[in-house]
């Protein structure tokens, strides 16, 4: 019952925070210098053309009125039309979002699984060479500059060795071939995914390993671990069934939030690998003053992150019986 009340209270808080974000986003984009028309550096674009276009885009309206339309459209589920593409914003997001989710969510899940697994071993073998090498490896992976790593991997595995495609999500040659079947196309996507996935995996798994290692080291000092040893339980059982599940709690928070943030993709990764995701669109929309697309993308991220926070908090209560919501 307490949990239901807690969730209800949090949902109201989320709604209020979301409305604040909605308003702040609107103001930020209107306060930013320039507009979608100013960027058109073409001598054929006369001031009269510019004014006409601004009027047609609705940007000549008083800012208060624009805000009311913005809120009304949002409430009715109308995200508007992208100034840049001339397409409904919802279509653009729906077109790009699955690509981002596929790549980034997979990479986070894989890197979290490996990070937890290796972090557990590193902590268990604290001070040994296994721990040293794993920690150094994790630190290097965690701190390496992503575009540099991506370009090196592309150069080595795609250009020099030729194992993988250079960039993109699919090969035009495969997809326009009328004889290519479903399996060939599915393999083509997997083939394109390996390098970006590998890059993201290397970047992310180090942080999970370090969090897990640190948490596991704290857990191993707990009294119940001493009790388990005193009871004569096997070391493997103590590690896997007593220490690791408790130590994994901070990683759950981190993974939950990372999964939420993964929907905004990564502009750098998507750019270097020409991955047609939402991250690149987000950057383009901001730099092109494409208000409808930028606002909708940020609102989507805000909504998912706020809800993910709630889910992680609730999940905590299930994972850790000591936590109760009142």
């Amino acid at each position: 019952m307490e949990l239901r009340k807690y969730i209800f209270r949090r949902l109201i808080e989320i709604a209020i925070i979301f409305f604040v974000i909605l308003t702040v986003l609107f103001l930020l984009f209107r306060l930013a210098p320039g507009d979608p028309v100013t960027r058109m550096v073409d001598p054929n674009m006369t001031p009269e053309d510019a004014e006409h276009l601004i009027e047609q885009l609705g940007l000549d309206q008083p800012i208060g009125l624009q805000y009311l339309y913005y809120v009304k459209n949002f409430v009715t589920g109308n995200f508007g039309v992208s100034f840049h593409y001339g397409q409904p914003v919802a279509d653009i997001i729906l077109n790009r979002l699955p690509n981002t989710v596929l790549l980034f969510t997979t990479s986070i899940i894989l890197s979290a699984l490996f990070g937890i697994f290796l972090g557990k071993i590193a902590a268990w073998r604290k001070g040994e060479s296994t721990d040293t090498w794993m920690t150094i490896g994790a630190l290097i992976c965690h701190t390496v500059f992503l575009p540099w790593l991506a370009l090196i991997l592309i150069w080595l595995f795609a250009y020099k060795v030729g194992w993988f495609p250079l960039t993109g999500m699919i090969s035009a040659e495969v997809w326009i071939d009328p004889e290519a079947g479903f399996l060939e196309k599915a393999w083509d996507i997997v083939h394109h995914m390996i390098l970006p996935l590998g890059t993201l995996f290397m970047i992310h798994f180090g942080s999970y390993l370090l969090i897990m290692r640190s948490s596991m080291l704290d857990t191993l000092k707990e009294d119940y671990i001493l009790t388990a040893r005193a009871k004569g339980l096997e070391e493997k059982t103590i590690r896997n069934h007593h220490a690791a599940p408790n130590a994994a709690l901070p990683v759950v928070t981190s993974v939950g939030l990372s999964l939420a943030f993964s929907i905004n993709g990564g502009a750098l990764t998507e750019t270097v690998f020409t991955w047609p995701g939402i991250g690149r669109e987000l950057v383009f929309s901001v730099s092109n003053n494409d208000y409808p697309l930028a606002q909708a993308s940020f609102l989507l991220i805000a909504a998912v992150v706020l809800l993910a926070n709630l889910v992680v908090d609730v999940l905590y209560a299930y994972l850790d019986p000591r936590i109760r919501y009142e």
Binding site: P43, E55, F114, I194
Partner: protein, 573 residues
């Protein structure tokens, strides 16, 4: 017993899959040209397409009445059968069409041409309307003849209005009818999603998989196939064009070297040249651009309202240094507003400030100009013995100290050349004691400050693709265009120039217009509202092992002539 180790198993699986897949060869038909683009086209709606990438694609689909000859840049009849006939009595142009068909097999008629022009006028389509608003009436006496009646003689009609792409009435009339009923008809028209554009060009779109590629195939109805136009036998001989998107130039260059693409349709930075030149099967083309990179002054306020100061600054700018050091030699010094590659209109006999002078001589000359105009210094740049020394405390002719003088530039991540040029110019101006500061700022902010608010001292901007018609010279400096969002960003007002500019826009005789345009260039370089700096070379690279026949012209090899003349290289040879 071997322990279960998920890392080893997954690593082995990935490696196995990769090796297996690496063995799968991708099929590429001999006639398929694979082109790399740096960004995805914005749209296939010709009226919304203001970006370079959309225009690249659409220029292979929608065609104009006239093209430019790749060598002379003269107008060449394309959809038109011959050059337009001008009747000064009625101020009308008559254009006759050649027999051409749309990609759906329908005949191109004069109604399509008239429809296109009327659509532009009715919806006041940005970037096009200014080229058609002076057309008062359009007649179609027969299905192959169109007659345009103008309000008054307009020189740009031939070169600017008749070179717009023609759309099919059948494809657009329903869209137009619906748009007319909406509250915002232009927005409705621009936001219309075009999925299968019907054109008269050599290629037709087969598929656009957003975020991945565009696939175009040969248009079986292309009017030019087998014909000789401008002395060139047209194909197209390539069967397909596949356009792939690359997020970075680094990867696109790797793709070119590896043979994944045959051409990277984007300017290449000089840093890649050494690598590309070492490749036997890659050829690098260097083309002149129709571009202008310049320093603009704000003539609305002191101190840049003083022509002496502007001339002194022009004298201090070492274009040779900018070209050789910042552009690494891949550019041309510009002395006029019209780029040298536009040979008919370019006029080199204008005032060339500081040409071929060394650093000290520039400072001396600038010092002389400023001294004669009444400027003074606490510590002048030339001492009593005539030696050049560090200067400070420059004062305006009215005795007031010169305040902070700001040079606005785009940021280095947008254009490193302009950002670094700004820094160099800052140092050169400080040589004569000017408190100059280069200030890179976001491109949108820069444009708003310069075009919208007119709140600046100077700025460095560039027009990357100027038309071959020199009408932009009039647009940039006409007094009437000195208004917010207007193209007279400097606020230049000169009745003498305005008169010449108006005359030039109405001069129907080409030689007469040339003389007027030359005079306009002279005046601009005398008064220096803009000071032209450089025109970068366009560097493009292609593979030579699969196709031959690229046509070089102003603005590079990605022109319609290349795409209609390229031939696959026989693999047997």
């Amino acid at each position: 017993m071997t322990k279960f180790n998920p890392i080893r198993i997954i690593a082995f699986g990935v490696l196995l899959a990769a090796v297996a897949l690496a063995g799968c060869s991708q099929k590429e038909p001999a006639g398929m040209l694979r082109v790399g683009l740096s960004e995805e086209p914005r749209t296939l709606n010709i009226w919304l397409a203001s970006d370079a990438n959309s225009r690249k694609i659409l220029s292979k689909i929608y065609q104009p009445l006239y093209q430019h000859d790749p060598e002379t840049l003269e107008l060449i009849p394309w959809l038109a059968a011959d050059l337009p006939e001008y009747d000064p009595e009625t101020v009308a142009y008559t254009v006759r069409l050649r027999g051409a068909r749309w990609s759906d097999g329908a005949e191109l008629t004069s109604s399509d041409v008239a429809f296109t022009a009327k659509l532009i006028k009715e919806f006041r389509i940005p970037r096009h309307y200014s080229r058609w608003k002076f057309v008062t009436r359009i007649e179609t006496p027969d299905k192959r003849t169109v007659r345009f009646f103008l309000k008054n003689p307009k020189a740009i009609f031939r070169s600017r209005s008749l070179t717009i792409p023609i759309v099919q009435q059948k494809e657009w009339e329903d869209i137009v009818r619906i748009a007319r009923t909406k509250e915002k008809p232009l927005a409705e028209l621009l936001n219309h999603q075009v999925e299968s554009p019907v054109g008269t060009g050599p290629f037709v779109l087969k598929q656009w998989r957003e975020g991945a590629y565009l696939h175009m195939v040969r248009n079986p109805y292309f009017f030019g196939t087998g014909k000789t136009i401008a002395g060139r036998q047209l194909g197209p001989h390539i069967t397909d064009i596949v356009v792939k998107i690359f997020g970075t130039s680094d990867v696109a260059i790797l793709a070119l070297k590896k043979g994944t693409i045959d051409m990277f349709w984007w300017g290449i930075q000089p840093g890649y040249l050494d690598d590309l030149r070492n490749q036997d099967d890659i050829h690098v083309y260097f083309s002149e651009k129709s571009a202008l990179y310049f320093m603009g002054f704000n003539l609305r306020k002191p101190p840049s309202d003083d022509p002496h100061l502007r001339r002194a600054i022009a004298t201090l700018i070492d274009k040779n240094f900018i070209i050789s050091r910042i552009l690494q030699g891949f550019g041309t010094e510009m002395y006029s507003i019209i780029p040298p590659g536009n040979r008919y209109w370019y006029y080199p006999e204008v005032e060339k400030y500081g040409a071929k002078l060394d650093r000290e001589s520039r400072i001396r000359k600038a010092y002389d100009i400023l001294t004669e105009a009444g400027y003074s210094w606490e510590a002048p740049p030339i001492d009593d013995a005539g030696a050049v020394i560090p200067a400070s405390g420059i004062r305006l002719p009215n005795g007031q100290p010169m305040e902070r003088f700001t040079i606005l530039t785009p940021p280095a991540d947008y254009d490193p050349h302009r950002a670094i040029s700004g820094l160099m110019i800052q140092e050169w101006l400080r040589d004569v004691g000017m408190p100059a500061y280069s200030r890179p700022m976001a491109f949108s902010s820069l444009l708003q400050q310069v075009k919208g608010r007119h709140d600046f001292d100077t700025f460095i901007l560039g027009c990357g693709k100027l038309s071959t018609d020199p009408d932009y010279l009039r647009i940039f400096f006409l007094s009437a265009n000195d208004k917010p969002r207007g193209w007279n960003m400097s606020g230049y007002r000169n009745p003498e120039f305005d008169k010449l500019a108006t005359e030039s826009s109405q001069a129907m005789d080409r030689e007469e217009r040339q003389a007027l345009v030359r005079k306009m260039q002279e005046i601009v370089l005398r008064d220096v509202p803009y000071y032209p700096i450089y025109d970068p070379l366009l560097i493009e690279a292609v593979r030579t092992d699969r196709f031959t026949g690229w046509v070089e012209m102003l603005e590079g090899i990605g022109n319609i002539w290349s795409f209609t003349q390229l031939k696959p290289i026989s693999r047997d040879s």
